[in-house]
Each structure stands twice: as C-alpha cells, then as structure tokens.
C-alpha cells in the first residue's frame, strides 16, 4: 500500500475510533444521568424530607378518611408496671386466719 493511502487509512481508522469513543461517552453520560435521576427519585420516595411529608399529609387529609394517630411513646417506668396487667407470683389461697381488711367497691 502506498504511503499516502496507508496514512489516509490510518487517519480514517483513528477518526472512526474517535467517533465511537465520543458516542460511547455520550451514552455513558446520558445513562449516568438517567440512573442518578432514578436513584434520586427512589430515595425521595422511600425517605421523604419534611416538606414532602407535610405536602403528602395535607393531601391525605383532604382525600382520605382520617387515620387513628399512632400511640404516643410512653415514658419509661420501673419494672413494677408492665404494659398489660401481670399475674401474681402466687394465686390467692383460702384464708386460715381472720381478715385484716375488706376489699370491695369504694
């Protein structure tokens, strides 16, 4: 192959390579931007910020029936007081001595 043809062929090959590289770069940029947008949307949906929550709640109150609010957090107490009434260590037994007090309505 003559030198000038060989040179042209090499230049064309280089230009084709550069075009492919530019196209690939463009697609990569577009793809990255798309993925970033998708992840941002996903994150905003799963963990909304304060403003977004308020807007959602405002819409909810106008379009949905009112929900029962969740129970408030109760302050901690000593272990003597369970959340539900606790059974005694030992059930009452028949009395064998005279009573000292009366338990009844008051």
């Amino acid at each position: 192959m003559p030198p000038d043809r060989e040179l042209r062929a090499r230049l064309e090959a280089r230009d084709r390579g550069l075009r492919r590289l530019r196209a690939l770069t463009t697609w990569l940029v577009v793809g990255a931007a798309g993925l970033a947008a998708a992840f941002a949307g996903l994150a905003a949906h799963s963990a909304p910020g304060r403003k977004a929550t308020r807007a959602t709640l405002l819409r909810a109150t106008t379009t949905r029936p009112k929900r029962v609010p969740p129970p408030p957090a109760l302050p901690a107490l000593g272990s003597d007081y369970a959340t539900t009434p606790s059974a005694p260590v030992q059930a009452p037994s028949p009395a064998v001595s005279a009573p000292v007090v009366v338990s009844g309505g008051s």
Binding site: P75, Y81, P85, S86, A87, A98, V102, G104
Partner: protein, 307 residues
C-alpha cells in the same frame, strides 16, 4: 403475734396500714400519712389547688408537673394502652358532666332533681402528651383527666413498699378496695375479706382469701352510685360510650402482680361485661366476679369459697 393496723380517712375513702410486727406500726403510719397528703395534692380532681386541677384548667399547653403526677399519668396511660382503652384517664369530662363533679359525699347529698346529667364521647388516651424529660404534660382543649382508676392503687403500691422499708416489717396497705402488700408476709399470709363494699365490717358477708405478694383490688358498681335527674348512675365509665358501664357484674375482685395491675384488671372487667372472665383467664389473673343476679364466677385459680 397478730398484725396491728392504723386507719384514717383520706382520698375520699378509708386508708389502712397493717404491719406484721407491731413495733413497726409508727414508722409505717408516718409513711401512710405523708404519702396520702402528697397524692392528694398532686392527683385530686376535687381540689382546685391540686396539680391535676391546674393541668385540666390549662389545655393546649405543656404544663410542668411534679414527679407524683407525672408518674400517675404515665401509669394511667399505660393502663389504657394495656387494656386497649378500656381503662382510660380521659373520662374526666364526661364523668364531671354526669354529675361526679365534686367529692362523692357532696354528689350523694345533692338534690337529684336539681341536676341534669350529660354525657360526652371520651377523647381517648392518645390525646395526652407526656414529655418525661422535660416533666411536662399537655392535654388538648376538651380533655379532662381523671386518675381515679389508677392513682389510689399506685399510692397503695408505693406506700406498702416504703412502709415495709421504713418499718422493717411485712406491710399491707388498703386504700378503699385497693390492697397492696410488701415485705415478709405473716405465716398464714394476709387475710383479706372480699365484699361489695370496702367499708363493710370484717365480720360481714363476703369471702376471705389469703395473699402473700402483689395486690388485690375490687371494682364495682354497687357503692359509688348517685341519682341525677331521673337516672341512677355509677362512677365506672365505659370509654367506648362515654356513659356508666352497662355490666352484669356487681363487684369484680382481681389479684395481680401489683395493686395497680389488679385495679386496672378489675375495672376493665367491669367495663368488658360478659366477656370479662375469658379476658381475665387469658391473662392468668385470679379473679372473683360477683354478678348482679347473685352468681359468682372465678378465674385463674381463685379459690372456691370455704364450706
């Protein structure tokens, strides 16, 4: 040695401390009197200067409260949460409108024809906001707290514990129908008569049982009743209706791990009505339910009446 007792009037009812060792009676009696005074100042709905009255009169604000009231409200909210709202401290307003707006002696003495009762829906315990770190409580407008279902029982538990420590003796404390014991019990346990009225004589009708720990409480519709207009009312409000509970039970007595738990369970049982025995049985709570028709149902290993 037989247990000895010290009795006085407080919180609109009878308060008794009983010690297994007679030498400990003085110390135990001091604890009883001091604690009752503090509870009355903090939790009374009928004293305009009590912390609770000031809280009820200041809606929509975070009101600083003392540790007694903070604990009493917290325990009341836990009772509400633990019973699915069957025992709810926000019954105060409907109870007041129904006529229970002053000490019971005054309610019972009022001319029934001069008062027309009203009833309102119960707002629900979720409306109450407690900030334990700041020591504040906020109730919204229209919400009034009544701690009658739990504050006395809470006081009985605390007095029993502190009196046992101060006296070095086994102690029983009874505030109205709410009984708490602490320390080493007498050899035969603490013998308690279960009846419709806590003020009944010790040799009157009733069943005797023995307890060694925890608490025993009775709730009923037979004693705290009043007439208002043409209606006859009682003090146990069904939070689902805002009206005095319609129940087949005259008196329900429950033994539990603490006096608070016993009182919460006995009050919930009155409100629940016919399904109360199954509810108590599921929780393993020994109970005696006396029906208005004279029947008696026992659950959770409550002993049969001695022949």
């Amino acid at each position: 040695v037989s247990p000895v007792t010290h009795t006085l009037r407080a919180l609109g009812t009878t308060a008794t401390v009983c010690v297994a060792d007679p030498d400990g009676l003085g110390a135990a009696g001091d604890v009883l009197e001091r604690e009752l005074a503090e509870v009355d100042e903090a939790c009374s709905r009928f004293r305009p200067d009590s912390e609770l009255s000031r809280l009820n009169a200041a809606p929509d604000r975070a009101v600083p409260v003392g540790r007694r009231l903070l604990e009493a409200i917290t325990v009341a909210l836990r009772a509400a949460a633990g019973t699915g709202g069957l025992v709810d401290p926000t019954v105060g307003r409907t109870l007041r409108l129904a006529g229970y707006d002053r000490t019971f002696e005054l309610v019972a003495g009022r001319d029934p024809s001069a008062f027309r009762p009203r009833f309102e829906a119960v707002p629900g315990w979720r409306q109450v906001e407690v900030d334990a770190a700041r020591g504040t409580v906020r109730v919204p407008s229209g919400v009034e707290l009544d701690l009658g279902a739990t504050a006395k029982a809470l006081a009985a538990d605390r007095i029993a514990r502190e009196a046992a420590a101060a006296s070095g003796s086994g102690v029983l404390v009874a505030l109205g129908g709410d009984v708490a014991v602490a320390g080493e019990a007498p050899e035969d346990g603490w013998s308690v008569r279960v009846a419709d009225n806590h003020a009944a004589p010790l040799d009157g009708p009733g069943e005797d049982v023995s307890i060694r720990s925890g608490g025993l409480a009775s709730s009923g519709t037979a004693v705290r009743r009043w007439r208002a207009g043409a209606a006859e009312l009682h003090h146990i409000v069904d939070p689902r209706t805002g009206r005095p509970a319609e129940t087949p039970w005259r008196t329900v007595s429950v033994a539990a791990g603490s006096c608070v738990d016993a009182n919460v369970a006995s009050t919930a049982a009155v409100v629940l009505g016919a399904s109360a025995p199954a509810w108590l049985e599921r929780r393993g709570l020994p109970a005696r339910l006396a029906g208005s028709d004279g029947s008696v149902v026992r659950t959770g290993g409550w002993p049969e009446e001695a022949a």
